[in-house]
């Protein structure tokens, strides 16, 4: 027979408390998503049935089909994947080069540049949104004025210059990473006659592969859900986030003449956000280690 000592009892109680609490937390995080799924599966009749509290009585995938139609899903999906992937690649390149330069070299303006990066992180985006809009509305290339609104170029330019969404954060992460990379390899390569470009491409970048993948994934995901840039720059040019934002009005336009209830539109938003977030969930399932570990690494480096 197992003897129950006060110490064991304490541990057992603590374990029970911990699991109860953690299950509660997980439930709180997942419940809204679960709720969206459940709402989306309701048939039209279920929507106005007040006896339904959670699970639908008649399962129906209509709302998903309607949401996909309203968002023009596949076209928008492919376009957004393309843009987000490009943004990610550009962002990786820009952030890595900036961070590498600051972390590895000594030059007179180093403090100023670091200050500039901190500033881009601290200034609220709403402060510069309007002038940014006018900048892209009449973009000046060597005296020629073109409008870059409704074109993905505007977004790409921001990412290519590390002035995009949360760029400062990524530059900082990478900077810490490069700072902690052993200098022995660089020095050895230098002695062997490698030039700066060779050291960068043959030693530094391969070593920072994990961090670069992280920056890519975060940029991809955050650009996917972003409405700050997309609603500012894109009007006709539809990406996933703007399509989801306008799902109610596009559904109404597709079904002109019929009476659409308020509740139906709300259900459509739920179904829309499910198919909107599904690709991100798939990415997260496969890459959650990369996401979580990158933050961990930054913690250890400090």
């Amino acid at each position: 027979m197992v003897k129950i000592t006060p110490g064991k009892l304490k541990n057992l109680l603590f374990a029970i408390f911990r699991y109860a609490f953690i299950i509660g937390l997980i439930f709180t995080v997942l419940y809204p998503q679960l709720n969206k799924i459940v709402i989306s599966f309701r048939s039209d009749a279920d929507l106005i049935d007040s006896s339904i509290l959670f699970m639908p009585k008649h399962f129906s995938v209509d709302s998903f089909i309607q949401a996909a139609d309203s968002m023009d899903y596949w076209t928008t999906f492919l376009r957004t994947v393309f843009i987000c992937a490009l943004c990610g690649l550009f962002h990786v390149a820009a952030c890595t080069l900036t961070a590498y330069s600051i972390a590895k070299f000594d030059f007179p303006l180093k403090k100023v540049i670091t200050g500039m990066i901190i500033l881009t992180f601290l200034v609220p985006p709403s402060l510069i949104s309007l002038p940014l809009y006018t900048t892209f509305q009449s973009f000046n290339i060597f005296g020629m004025t073109v409008t870059l609104l409704d074109k993905p170029v505007s977004l790409l330019l921001l990412y290519l210059t590390a002035n995009g969404l949360k760029s400062g954060l990524f530059v900082f992460l990478l900077m810490q990473y490069f700072r902690n990379m052993p200098r022995v390899l660089d020095e050895a390569a230098e002695v062997d006659g490698a030039n700066n470009w060779q050291i960068l491409f043959k030693i530094a970048l391969p070593g920072a592969k994990v961090m670069m993948v992280t920056v890519f994934l975060f940029t991809f995901v955050w650009q996917w859900t972003d409405t700050y840039y997309t609603s500012m720059f894109f009007n006709e040019y539809t990406v996933m986030s703007t399509a989801l934002n306008r799902i109610a009005s596009s559904f109404a336009a597709l079904n002109a003449g019929t009476d659409i209830s308020f509740i139906k539109l709300s259900q459509l938003t739920s179904a829309g956000s499910i198919i909107f977030v599904l690709p991100l969930i798939v990415i997260y399932i496969f890459c959650n280690k990369t996401f979580v570990q990158s933050v961990e690494n930054s913690g250890i480096v400090g």
């Binding site: 500039m116 002035n163 700066n196």
Partner: protein
């Protein structure tokens, strides 16, 4: 090796030039997409702007827009106060909560990794448009309750509101001070926001905790210290730099989050019916100054108040 033909540039000069070349894209972008917009926005905030045809006509107003934002437009002040109140309530909460969860998840147990992955999930899916929808959508927010209310002529109040009220009454009947009760009920209402904003902080704090050398705890165990003493005398000082970083991150994140009503309010001034760019820019600037002051205050509190312990290296 070429002998007798000296390199035109020394190695250190070459390195400096190389560093500048790598920084070139960022600096160009900074000037074009950050510095110039900031200066322009300050210029806008000092002007009244009218559209005459396709051209914008500026008329210089000095600091009138600022005056109007602070003393004439009553909504702005209350929105600003609400935003700051939310910050004051939420930031300490998020920090305490993250620290608490980090304590729970620090020790190895079955399902630990899974918990971490789930708690980090909001960083991925509670951003941007999804956060906006979660905050504004009718079905998601009120659930089935409100629908049945609407069907039964809206007689009953919504369920979440009711529980919160019940607790409030209970606490008030226990003679607790009004302010404390108000704070507690705000905490409960904010719990989901706190939970979804803590993903990065939790993971960061756990990592910081894990990086504390075990020898410190071994030494304290030999001296006969309790777990409680370990926590305050070893853990907290050792992870204090990360607590500081997390706090700064939390403040910035709260200020820029997509569900910040003040940002929406300011944007509406610029894009809504009024189309008052000048006023909107002035409000943004006031907001920015307050963000900066908050960060400065927190920085002073942590660094001057000796709340951060930096190890000698």
């Amino acid at each position: 090796m070429k002998i007798g033909k000296p390199d035109s540039l020394s190695s250190s000069t070459k390195k400096k030039i190389f560093a500048y070349i790598l920084l070139l894209p960022f600096v160009c972008g900074f000037i074009l997409f950050f510095l110039r917009p900031i200066i322009l926005s300050f210029f806008y905030s000092l002007n009244g702007m009218n559209m005459s045809g396709a051209k914008i006509v500026y008329n210089f107003k000095g600091f009138q827009n600022y005056y109007q934002a602070l003393f004439v437009n009553t909504d702005f002040r209350s929105e600003l106060a609400a935003s700051i109140r939310q910050l004051v309530v939420n930031v300490p909460l998020i920090m305490f909560f993250s620290l608490f969860i980090a304590t729970l998840l620090n020790k190895e147990f079955y399902g630990r990794n899974f918990t971490r992955v789930i708690l980090f999930l909001p960083v991925i899916i509670s951003t941007g448009i999804l956060l906006q929808i979660e905050n504004s959508d009718y079905l998601l927010n009120e659930g089935q309750q409100l629908i049945s209310d609407a069907l039964s002529d809206g007689a009953a109040s919504s369920s979440t509101y009711e529980t919160s009220m019940g607790l409030k009454d209970l606490l008030l009947s226990l003679n607790m001070p009004d302010k404390l009760v108000g704070y507690i009920s705000q905490v409960i209402e904010n719990f989901y926001v706190v939970l979804t904003s803590s993903g990065v902080q939790i993971v960061l704090l756990i990592a910081a905790w894990q990086s504390i050398p075990p020898s410190l705890y071994e030494a304290s165990a030999i001296e006969g210290a309790t777990a409680w003493e370990d926590f305050w005398k070893i853990t907290i000082p050792m992870i204090s730099p990360y607590i500081f970083v997390c706090t700064i991150y939390t403040i910035v994140d709260t200020f820029m989050s997509a569900n910040n009503t003040l940002v929406t309010f300011i944007n509406n001034i610029a894009t809504g019916q009024t189309m008052d760019y000048g006023l909107s820019s002035a409000m943004s600037w006031i907001y920015f100054v307050i963000v900066a002051l908050c960060l400065g205050a927190v920085g002073l509190l942590f660094l001057r108040g000796k709340l951060v312990t930096y190890q000698e290296r």
